[in-house]
């Protein structure tokens, strides 16, 4: 029964990907100007345009290009970048690695931090520390990330010269050097994603705390700490995991602004560059990678909440 449910989720994930592929393909096709026009820019002439277009295969009808693209992608061939001529797999793999590294470090810091802070706030509601946490998280949620990033750069890099203003990696940094090079975007992202997770953890647990079985536990004299960790947390885990999954997906695909401000060579920035150069295969590949990341993470979150919920685990 449960396997069936998981399989159905995976099936829905695949269908989503196909639908997205069509939307991405159509969406990129209706952008004004074509690759040839953008590559040549101001220096385009009709002759060089026609030449470049046929070189790039842009003279074939759209639906044929779609199926060729879909087939190639299914076989793991993402095509070649139209602007640079490099294979997209080689272009994206390094960038995906960078993005994953950033997302990984941010999650390693922010998930334990926010769950801990959220729990702490839930255990001691109404105390001054709870108020500080609530105020802090509400403020950071309401402020856009580029504002946080800019303030951090102004204070920590331009004024105090403590940290570099850009996340520039020469490629051979290890450990501490790497952390220092990445400190600014890491700090920004940890602040941005933790806020939401802290609030969700706190709210989720406080919500469960008002249910009858918790009241029963309290009446039985179970210590509050044990109630929260043993009973409340496990029941609140579903929504918390979902928020964590959404934030992880954001770390992979939604960090365009942070990557741009810190000139970090991640995947989202590659996609923006791809849009600017009308490198449609590259944009499509990035969009599909992002979409796949979302689908997989949401899938994991769904399975996790099924597993943590006996009613879903053993449906009647």
């Amino acid at each position: 029964m449960m396997t069936q449910m998981v399989l159905r989720r995976i099936g829905i994930g695949f269908a989503t990907l196909i639908v997205v592929s069509i939307i991405v393909f159509i969406g990129t096709s209706v952008l004004p100007g074509d690759v040839a026009q953008i590559i040549l820019g101001q220096s385009a002439t009709p002759a060089t345009l026609a030449q470049l277009r046929s070189e790039l295969g842009l003279d074939q009808p759209g639906y044929i290009r779609y199926f060729i693209w879909l087939g190639d992608m299914a076989s793991g061939d993402l095509g070649t970048s139209k602007a640079g001529g490099a294979s997209i797999v080689s272009l994206t793999s390094g960038r995906l690695g960078n993005t994953m590294m950033m997302a990984g470090i941010v999650s390693l810091i922010s998930i334990p931090l926010s769950v801990a802070l959220g729990l702490w706030a839930a255990m001691h509601p109404g105390t001054w520390l709870d108020r500080v946490i609530t105020f802090g998280t509400l403020s950071t949620i309401s402020v856009p990330e580029f504002f946080i990033a800019t303030i951090l750069v102004l204070v920590l890099a331009v004024e105090l010269h403590w940290l570099p203003a850009i996340a520039y990696m020469s490629g051979d940094e290890t450990g501490w050097q790497l952390m220092k090079a990445l400190a600014m975007p890491l700090l920004t992202l940890v602040i941005v994603v933790s806020a939401q997770m802290i609030r969700m953890t706190r709210a989720g647990i406080l919500n469960v705390m008002s249910s009858p079985y918790i009241e029963m536990a309290i009446l039985k004299g179970v210590p509050r700490r044990r109630i929260i960790l043993r009973h409340a947390l496990l029941n609140a885990i579903g929504p918390i995991v979902n928020v964590i999954a959404l934030n992880l997906a954001y770390l992979v695909s939604g960090v365009v602004i942070v990557e741009t401000i810190f000139a970090y060579p991640g995947l989202a920035k590659l996609m923006i560059d791809g849009v600017q150069t009308r490198d449609l295969p590259l944009v499509q590949a990035c969009a599909m990678i992002f979409c796949a990341t979302y689908v997989v993470l949401i899938l994991i979150a769904d399975v996790a909440s099924i597993l943590s919920n006996p009613r879903l685990r053993h449906p009647k």
Binding site: A44, V153, H161, G171, P265, D273
Partner: protein, 541 residues
């Protein structure tokens, strides 16, 4: 030919110079130019010998510094992406040009005054009517992979810009060349369709780099730096070529990267993460000028802030509409307020003082005159128009809004349609009746005018086809007598000024930021950071 910029006008002291000249001289001293170079600049600005001497004494310390080896520089351009290139004929942006300059050489390079200098060509000689040019190629030059550079490589590299199938960015610029021919192992000949006395200057263009026969560049050049790594849209790393054929570079390594966000670029410069930043926005001038350890470099250049009124359709076909648009431009205010003084007033021609003696300084400056503008708009019988504007050059959006406000005062309704730069060159430019434009500075007045105003030219962006203009463009190329040549250039600029559909209220300077300890910066006005000529020239104090 290009002996001086402008006539001397009696005794002038340093304080009499206009701010841009003064900063030019001061910058030159600060950057450690040679005494001779500075004297030359001073002659151009009209300073007396006495003033020159006092300036030398004051800056003795800076003057004493001589190039020294070592150190590294990280440069960030304003644009980069997966389309970054190593193939010279597809170079389109500063980041490509800089990598090209570090990795490859050309036959000819430009001096700060745009005089062609021999580089891989040892000598270059025209025949009597400049329809054939002979180049003696330098011996003992080798590519980074060790193979020697010969006439075959030159003929191969230069021929890649010719022919129907060529996708070269400068195909049309180089189209006056019929054929490149190998004469000997170290001698080539360019056979032209028609005379062109300016050919050597064109050979200094960013795309005219010499690569190995049969290759597409691939980072294997004869240049002062060898390429260690190259990731498009991320960065490249270069180390000094110890086997270079000339004296060679001073820096040990350079890293070339891009930071597209203008605020982030300036922050990275000020915090010392990068030592060079291209394209500083006027809004950030003060921040850069006031920051410790960084310098704002501002080089006057013919980076036009233009408005095209298409002559083949309404309203541009009406000459009085164009006149109205020209008189409503508050040129002084655009330079002073919008460009913060880092620019020069335009006279509705694409040629300006940085082009040297071909600039027609005799042509009377068109002034801001709302009454005349009102008169001409009325005569044209037009009460409103629509202008398409995108931020193609710094300040142009604000200049258009200023024109809109001034138009409103005389009862003319100028509607501004703001559009993104993205896709602008394909969808708006040369299509919408009134649109903004910019052109990078071309090395010669002739190529600057020919690209936009030659009858039937592919990029004649006002569709103004004037037979006399075409004739003059051709004739002036083979005219060797300086006076006659100047008269021809003046006639062309007067024609454009009076009859074309072009409005050019101002030129923007080229503005970059560098660390103050970088010495020996070139100031070639053809592109950012001294037209990317710096890798071989600069050193760290």
């Amino acid at each position: 030919m290009k002996d001086k910029f402008r006539p001397q006008s009696g005794d002038i002291t340093l304080s009499d110079l206009d701010p841009s000249d003064r900063s030019l001289v001061e910058n030159a001293v600060k950057k450690g130019f040679s005494r001779r170079e500075i004297l030359k600049i001073m002659m151009a600005t009209g300073v007396t010998a006495a003033t020159a001497n006092s300036l030398f004494t004051k800056s003795g310390e800076a003057m004493a510094s001589t190039p020294k080896k070592g150190g590294s520089i990280r440069m960030a351009s304003n644009l980069h992406g997966p389309d970054d290139q190593l193939d010279p004929r597809l170079f389109t942006s500063t980041i490509d040009y800089t990598r090209g300059r570090a990795t490859y050489n050309s036959l000819i390079r430009h001096s700060n005054e745009l005089v062609p200098q021999a580089e891989l060509a040892e000598t270059f000689e025209p025949n009597s009517d400049a329809s054939e040019w002979t180049f003696k190629i330098r011996k003992g030059v080798s590519f980074h992979d060790g193979s020697p550079m010969t006439a075959d490589d030159v003929v191969y590299s230069m021929s890649r810009h010719l022919g129907e199938d060529s996708t070269s960015v400068i195909k049309s610029v180089m189209s006056s060349v019929k054929e490149w021919k190998k004469v000997g192992q170290h001698e080539v000949k360019a056979i032209l369709h028609s005379s062109n006395a300016d050919l050597p200057t064109l050979l200094g263009l960013f795309q005219n780099k010499i690569i190995k026969n049969g290759s597409t560049g691939e980072g294997n050049g004869t240049g002062p730096f060898k390429m260690d790594s190259f990731e498009p849209g991320v960065k490249s790393v270069h180390t000094r070529n110890e086997d270079y054929w000339a004296e060679g570079a001073n820096l040990d390594t350079i890293e070339i990267t891009g930071i597209t966000d203008p605020v982030a670029r300036v922050n990275a410069l000020i915090s010392g993460d990068i030592q060079m930043a291209t394209v500083i926005d006027p809004k950030a001038f003060r921040q850069v000028e006031e920051a410790e350890g960084v310098t704002l470099l501002s080089t006057p250049a013919a980076l036009q802030m233009g408005i095209c009124c298409l002559k083949n359709t309404a309203p541009g076909e009406n000459a009085d509409f164009v006149k109205g648009m020209q008189y409503i431009q508050d040129r002084e205010r655009i330079v002073k307020k919008i460009l913060k003084g880092k620019g020069s007033v335009g006279n509705d021609t694409p040629v300006m003082s940085a082009h040297g003696p071909d600039f027609c300084s005799e042509l009377a400056q068109r002034e801001f005159d709302p009454d005349k503008a009102k008169f001409h708009f009325k005569k044209a019988g037009i009460s409103g128009a629509e202008i398409f504007s995108a931020p193609v050059v710094s300040g142009v959006q604000d200049a258009v809004l200023l024109a809109q406000a001034n138009c409103a005062k005389i009862g003319f309704d100028l509607q501004v349609k703001k559009v993104p730069t993205d896709g602008y060159w394909g969808a708006v430019w040369m299509n919408e009746p009134v649109n903004v434009v910019t052109w990078n500075m071309r090395p010669t007045a002739n190529s600057q005018m020919a690209i936009q105003f030659a009858p039937g030219a592919a990029w004649n962006d006002t569709y103004w086809n004037n037979d006399r203009m075409g004739e003059l463009l051709r004739l002036s190329l083979s005219e060797i007598d300086p006076d006659k040549r100047h008269a021809m250039y003046c006639e062309m600029q007067t024609l454009i000024h009076n009859e074309s559909g072009m409005v050019i209220p101002a030129f923007s300077n080229i503005n970059d930021g560098i660390s103050s300890n970088i010495m020996g910066m070139p100031s070639v006005p053809l592109g950012q950071l001294g037209a990317c000529e710096w890798p071989e020239l600069v050193w760290l104090a």
